[in-house]
Symmetry: D2
């Protein structure tokens, strides 16, 4: 059975496991104040090209999103988000649990447009009594998005410009940041993310680590006391070095980018194979998630040897499914899938 | 200048003011435990035809909505609501502030359909890992709705039946309950509300009182410790008798219903006058809110002598506006408006 | 039966009732944007001697406390408070409900000391890993306190100075502000409150109004978007003019201070009478609340004709009770009490 | 340098690391639904002697506490806790962040007494208007406590009996459960915990795992939908098997108890050595945390070769410090410490 149903099926890249083994009995201080975390923070700052950034390591994505968003917003503010955004649909209302409305806007292919953000702000400001409605307080986008798409550099610049015009901090969910940066035809570099966002994170869980997300705070105004927020939200790992060691391994010499490239190039092979066979796609994705629309017969046949996610019923005879590659996907698995097609 | 822009422009019905004056220097215990509140609770229970109900008096609608909803839901649950619902758009995220997502469904003419509720539940239950999404925990509807429409008895029965099938308490926001019950062509009685809902409230603020909403809890499972919720949410009025006196006056001999009838019959006159002149309406409302679509010239002309709300820009030359009547609207004001047309 | 059990047994001062009657059928805009509120805000600003202050009218004290405190604090911050403080013991955890810890310090006679605030801050800052503990984010005191005591001007200055040294906004709960300012032997004026606090409120509920608290924000940094907070917390009264009319009447010509003086002078008579008879007191109060310690026999005898609150069981034979006077207390009632003694 | 400052300085027990290595490239489903988690749940249930229990694996202690407590309480309820309890002092107000007051009671040696719980409930119920105060809704105790002490079986039974009498679920924080069960002279077994508590957790972080706490829900009424709470609180680990593998290793053949025994027996050696030299202790602890009171000279001398925590300044010349042992402490380190004494 070959598994393509998600990008977190395995443990961690062997170099990470090796490092964890080697350091296992070392004694360090806790809560992210150890030497490995310090080195990892430096490696991340170098990778994003921003020496002044604050870097914090959290365990998971929902935790990272809730911690960042609740630290930025005032009580009466909400976060603008694509309707397909992870915080809007797949985090059991963690943002609302922290007291804030997710201001979901209709999204085409998982992406927000700068003009939508402007319109939302203008509509709020035009209210007769804006205080009766939730004030937009920040913008959340995902890169790559929940359906595998990416913003172009131009689109990101427009979004960032509108956010700055209205004083809305821009937060980029990077659970799949590496895969987004490795997108076929993409023109966004990590340095662009760091210069256009106010805060973002680099996902580890889906990108080669056992777990972990590296939150990077670029905007000085958002840095103060962030560790209090982490602790209060239950995200301060006692043995913080586990996060430091993982992110140090991923970022000290480019492993993060290699692994991302690996996953995306295999995904492109899968895409091309489905395309060649005439299958349509739910959305045209240049990253590690592919959403071909299968007829029932093909779906049944493939499901004997391959595990994939059912995404969306299209009609009685067709279903959009998701094939994910990851840092751990073996080329043989992809070859087997292509042969089966 | 004649005012039609909302239904809370004046103070209270003169009989209420008279009663407040007469009792002003009486000494009573606080927090709703006085004799007037006790009598008012009895009067409300009699009016709704449910002796076993618990009745609580709160000051305002946003407060009543947040207190009821947060008392019903478990932390991970959300409230199903029409996208036009007051809690979704005009309460500054008070529900989210209490930790819960508003699960907004598209609404036609301000009304939810039973089938939508069923679909939302079925979609949630069909999730592969429903715990990653907010669990629908109750249903909120408004009667009359935010755009003046009302459910038929048949529609309410269907909604109630679906709610009971799925174990979802049904909460009816009755900020304009009286106007809804007096709807032209409506077939819903207050007793129906009490037998089909699990909890609802009878609005006072827009219906003849200075302020106040009477929350009626019908479902035994929702009654426990409700006063703690009121206090914690800042809704326990020290001089609770002010609420008791008002609701006693409104309900002891049917004043509430008379005032509602008064407002609706004047609104029908306004509706007929606009119709006769060929104006279209944003929505066909049988209650005290009317939403004619005015051309720019008419809008400008009428705004010289009449105050009304701008509701929605339709196109460059037309705007939907709102004319409200209330318990306090004078027939002369309506006549003047009709003449002006 | 003469009532002394609390200071909110009656309605409102007759001049307020008169004004409410006169204006009852006037049509105004809602939510505190009317002319009466505007005039009342001016009158309050004049009374507190601070033209730049922002003034907002809320309905009740718990609501005012929760709205102010949650608008000031960051999510990981708590509010320093005397253990006897109203927010710590009698608001059903409304502050915690808004997400914040009440950092209760032991209080002598209901009062905090500047040195305690300094110590709490120093202990927090001295933590090895302060982010594991709640950060003190503001200070809450009551004037007069929950047991009738008041700070001297010197004490208030010291508290204010420590707060400013550590960047802690100082919030004064003035549910009984007038009675505190009228304290026998007190040296604090309302202008002092306004210059030493960052935000405070002037209680109406216990001081002559039907209901209402006037929040005065002196510190510019705390003013932004406060109306959003009011609305989200369910505190924005639709017919806001009811609050405007009441506070205008109380403050336009000094009625607030007259009524406070009335209550305190009657309380001093009660105190003197108990003293003369040799009764001890739970605390020495110079304001409208008096806490004599009664033997069982006296308690039983007095309770036949007078209603008062049981405060604290001292031993098998003695109980501290509370006698409250208010703006509405009649001198005859006090005379009757003194005779009965 | 020998480290005794905490019990989470190292990684994980070598058998856990070995198992993680061996399974690293296996593909499993996520979120705790994999085979390892299933086996680990069975092993835990067998160890606690309760087949009907629900077992959930969370990442850390603060997260586990906040998730359990907020899932149990109604909005207006608080949790009774020793003033020294971890949730009261070292979790940055995570419980308050979830909306609930920590009802801290004075604790002798870190332990609550049954009589204190009874008194707190009786005082609440005796209130004239209990709804103005926070309703106690559950009880939280730690085993072993934050200062190393443990309850006797008799004490636990009394606490449990009072809790059941008043309908208060009893929650036992077992971050150091193993060390508590291994207490010298202790008479509590894990089966007792499971029969006396309603919900508890078995700490992994301080007891041999990289991270992780196993929440065991015994009371059926608390089981429903707990996974939603985990997800909403950011505690659902994507690669849940990491937790399953660790707890399976700890519980399948008693490793958890062996490691606990190891740590406690070394701690007893340390205790005996300090005692023999005449040092007093802050508290008499039979578990892995020891709190000798050092004179300045000794403190300085020891700190050259040993790392330990400064706990509490006693007077100008003396300080209580903490020496922790753990599953990873080497006997040579303890010998070196004893020699140095």
């Amino acid at each position: 059975m070959y598994q393509f149903q998600c990008d977190y099926s395995e443990g961690a890249h062997p170099r990470i496991m090796q490092r964890l083994m080697e350091t296992n009995l070392e004694q360090t201080v806790g809560y992210g104040m150890d030497e490995y975390c310090e080195q990892a923070r430096e490696a991340v700052k170098k990778a994003v090209g921003c020496e002044d950034a604050d870097v914090h390591f959290l365990v998971g994505g929902t935790q990272a999103n809730a911690t960042v968003i609740s630290s930025v917003l005032r009580p009466y503010q909400g976060v603008i988000c694509a309707a397909t955004g992870h915080i809007n649909v797949h985090e059991t209302g963690a943002i609302e649990h922290s007291g804030h409305k997710v201001l979901a806007l209709p999204a085409e292919k998982g992406l927000l447009k700068a003009a939508q953000i402007r319109q939302a702000m203008e509509e709020h400001l035009a209210e007769d009594g804006p205080e009766h409605t939730v004030q937009p307080g920040m913008v959340y986008i995902s890169f790559s998005s929940e359906v595998g798409t990416v913003y172009s550099l131009e689109q990101l610049k427009e979004i960032s410009a509108v956010c700055r015009e209205y004083g809305l901090p821009l937060f980029i969910d990077g659970a799949r940041m590496g895969y987004g940066l490795a997108a076929e035809g993409g023109d966004v570099r990590l340095e662009d993310i760091a210069s256009l966002a106010d805060v973002f994170y680099l996902g580890g869980t889906k990108q080669g680590a056992l777990f972990g997300e590296a939150v990077v705070i670029v905007n000085d105004a958002l840095k103060k006391d962030f560790r209090y927020n982490i602790k209060q939200n239950g995200g301060m790992l006692a043995k913080g070095r586990l996060l430091g060691i993982q992110f140090l391994t991923l970022f000290e010499d480019g492993l993060y980018f290699e692994l991302s490239q690996h996953a995306v190039s295999l995904a492109m092979k899968i895409r091309d194979a489905f395309r060649a066979k005439g299958f349509a796609f739910l959305v045209d994705s240049p990253t590690n998630q592919q959403f071909p629309i299968l007829d029932n017969e093909t779906m049944e046949r493939l499901s004997k040897d391959f595990r994939f996610s059912v995404w969306q019923k299209m009609d009685a005879g067709h279903t959009a499914v998701r094939f994910c590659t990851s840092w751990a996907t073996r080329p043989e698995a992809v070859d087997a899938l292509i042969s089966a097609l």
